[in-house]
């Protein structure tokens, strides 16, 4: 409806007492840049305290957290999968091979159909950035992070987070996400949950019921 578009824009102009104005974009940009941002942008914690906070926040959401080193990462992943008796596990396309245990057979994401996603025991991905203050993992769905459905339909999500990917504050995360601003982005803070019935938090409604986070120091 092109006429609705014109009518709405015209009503906005008259409501804000501005006529059609060619300089509006420039003035808007100038005024926008002048908005004060006195809130905390940079974190204050050292690396150790930051990781500690991140893990603490994840525990608050009932996520399961394991710490490991780069060398032991494949073994740690194998242990976590075994611990939960996971057999059919899908690996996100583009996941670095050296990360995965060799003696465990993964189904590749590109070969997995919706039925596989619906029936599998779990999936493995990496992430783009993680936020300590809120216990959040952000997927920009690039290599190793899977398409959005991969971390949605299965019941269990194992996400590998490297220490250098963990920032303290939400603004720091947005700085790092700027290059991926037009990617699909998914912020995950714990397993899916609802509190719609009597404000009782129930874990696992439609997204994964279990979130395993492997933190690589």
């Amino acid at each position: 409806m092109p006429d609705a578009r014109d009518a709405i824009l015209e009503r906005i102009c008259s409501a804000t007492r501005r006529g059609a104005d060619e300089n509006a974009p420039a003035r808007a940009a100038e005024e926008f840049a002048a908005i004060a941002r006195p809130y905390l942008r940079a974190g204050r914690l050292d690396a150790e305290a930051r990781l500690h906070l991140f893990i603490d926040r994840l525990h608050d959401y009932d996520a399961h957290v394991v710490e490991t080193s780069a060398d032991s990462l494949p073994r740690t992943i194998a242990n976590v999968l075994q611990q939960h008796g996971q057999r059919k596990v899908i690996a996100a396309d583009g996941l670095p091979h050296e990360m995965l245990p060799r003696d465990f057979e993964f189904l590749a994401e590109r070969e997995a159909g919706i039925e596989d996603l619906n029936e599998c025991d779990g999936i493995v991905t990496v992430c783009t950035v993680a936020i300590a203050s809120t216990g959040t993992i952000v997927l920009a769905h690039g290599p190793g992070e899977g398409a959005r459905r991969l971390s949605l339909i299965p019941d269990r999500h194992l996400c590998v987070v490297r220490a250098h990917q963990v920032v303290e504050t939400v603004p720091e995360a947005f700085d790092r996400l700027a290059p991926s601003a037009t990617h699909p982005l998914t912020f995950i803070s714990g397993p899916s949950a609802t509190a719609d019935i009597e404000m009782t938090r129930i874990r696992g409604v439609h997204g994964p019921r279990f979130l395993d986070v492997v933190v690589v120091r």
Partner: protein
């Protein structure tokens, strides 16, 4: 153009609708419990945020700025979204929006849609409009599902079914999902909803959502949710349609670093809600192949035109003001006759309707200011309520209205000391038969509205001024003595 906000044009006045709700002890218990829990959680996560006030200020400044250049930012959004493969539609009112959505669904050959909770679609009455066109809408948010299956109305912006307790939900699910043995633990009820909806997520081809934020700079849309039903509707269907009010636009991607700290803490008392999704147009091999945004006015531009009430459009629909409101907590959202309830509803609904309906809503407040204190974008709701009460009187009432006449008379009396003191003396004489032990219990006529729910102290035998004069006289006398 006809502006419509759910069924609010036909709704009874707040004061009338509130009476039966106040008699419903179960409903009041449910609402009190839910709002207490959210308020407590919110207070904890807000207290630990040392820069909370700074975040509020920046959010408020950002919204005020965006509204000043709303046309510019909407055009920027349209351009960026279109460049990324999305299609942008503009709807002047609710019927326009419903028609656009129905035409799109039919155009893609669909007769079913899955929906994420969107108050905007409740505002336009989208589900009923789709049904009229032979299209079935499935609500997928747990609370919305409870409301839809129970043929109820939403009573809260964030948790629309908080007026129902577990056994009431069980009865609804038992009957509509045909599960005679369903238990009443929240776990059982949630699991039932999961099973009921999963098949729909994997099958239905068209998804409908609202928008928490539209990012002008990138053309992205942001949805904030908890259950994963949102992600399902955003990812699984082939077609996605987003219905968004024009005030949902924000200038830049970076602005989300402010709003995504404020919204979850205010709405559900979480540091971050389980899932935030952002997408930009259509993404290859990931998610829907077709994406449409419907930008809705439906009265928002007339709110924009009122400089003193424009801040109403800052709202990010967190519902913190509902949980904090002593009036809402007694009546629930069902008394407000609109998709939008509580203090924010009391200012949004009548303004969208150009003050032609919902005139009782600005009076549904004690003006205590709790709503302003918790608002993450600093909407001074009490100030807007008072402004709107003024508009109700100025725009709606004739000069012969009894209350307006009384106010005019009062203004004339207050304008002169002589007249005021004369009125006080007259009042003392006239009050005699109505006063019991120093209190008015029941006043006659219009004044009875005040004493129906509270007592009023009688006029004292002497005013302060009279006492002061008397004191000076007494002093003089004793000085002479």
């Amino acid at each position: 153009m006809t502006i419509r906000v759910a069924e609010s044009a036909q709704a009874p006045s707040f004061q009338k609708a509130a009476l039966p709700l106040l008699e419903d002890a179960q409903l009041r218990r449910n609402v009190r419990h839910a709002t207490d829990v959210i308020q407590l959680k919110r207070a904890q996560v807000v207290a630990e945020t040392v820069d909370w006030q700074e975040l509020r200020t920046t959010a408020s400044d950002t919204k005020a700025h965006t509204l000043r250049y709303l046309d510019h930012y909407l055009l920027q959004f349209e351009k960026a979204c279109t460049a990324a493969g999305g299609q942008v539609h503009w709807a002047a009112d609710a019927d326009d929006a419903n028609r656009i959505v129905a035409d799109l669904v039919r155009g893609y050959g669909g007769n079913e849609v899955i929906k994420i909770k969107t108050m905007t679609s409740d505002e336009t009455g989208l589900n009923e409009a789709l049904e009229h066109e032979g299209i079935r809408a499935h609500e997928t948010d747990l609370a919305e599902l409870i409301i839809q299956l129970g043929r109820d109305r939403p009573s809260h912006i964030v948790a629309p079914a908080l007026h129902k307790n577990r056994s009431q939900v069980r009865e609804i699910f038992r009957e509509t999902m045909h599960l005679p043995d369903l238990g009443d633990r929240p776990e059982d009820l949630t699991a039932a909803a999961r099973r009921y909806l999963r098949e729909k997520f994997l099958r239905v081809k068209v998804g409908i959502c609202g928008a928490n934020f539209l990012v002008a700079e990138t053309g992205s849309v942001c949805i904030v949710e908890s259950e994963g039903n949102g992600r399902m509707c955003l990812t699984m269907p082939e077609v996605l349609i987003s219905l968004a009010g024009i005030e949902k636009v924000i200038p830049s991607f970076q602005d989300l670093e402010v709003f995504l700290q404020l919204l979850p803490r205010s709405a559900t008392g979480e540091r971050m809600n389980p899932y935030n999704s952002l997408w930009t147009g259509v993404h290859a091999n990931d998610g829907p192949k077709h994406f449409h945004v419907v930008l809705l006015d439906n009265g928002r531009t007339s709110v924009l035109a009122d400089a003193e009430a424009r801040q109403t459009l800052h709202c990010i629909r967190c519902a913190a003001c509902l949980n904090a409101c002593p009036v809402y907590r007694q009546t629930s959202g069902l008394a407000y006759g609109s998709s939008y309830s509580g203090p924010i509803g009391a200012i949004v609904t009548p303004q969208l309707l150009n003050m032609e309906h919902g005139q009782s809503l600005p009076y549904a407040s004690s003006l205590c200011g709790a709503c302003y204190e918790v608002c993450p974008v600093k909407i001074d709701i009490p100030e807007v309520l008072i402004h709107l009460r003024g508009r109700v009187v100025r725009e709606q009432k004739s000069a012969l209205d009894a209350e307006a006449l009384a106010m005019k008379m009062a203004a004339a009396i207050f304008a002169s000391r002589r007249r005021f003191e004369a009125a006080q003396r007259l009042g003392r004489l006239a009050q005699g038969p109505l006063v019991r032990k120093g209190w008015f219990g029941n006043l006659p006529g219009l004044l009875g509205n005040w004493t129906r729910v509270r007592d009023l102290r009688a006029l004292p035998p002497q005013t302060f001024r009279e006492w002061w004069k008397q004191r000076a006289k007494n002093a003089e006398r004793s000085g002479h003595a």
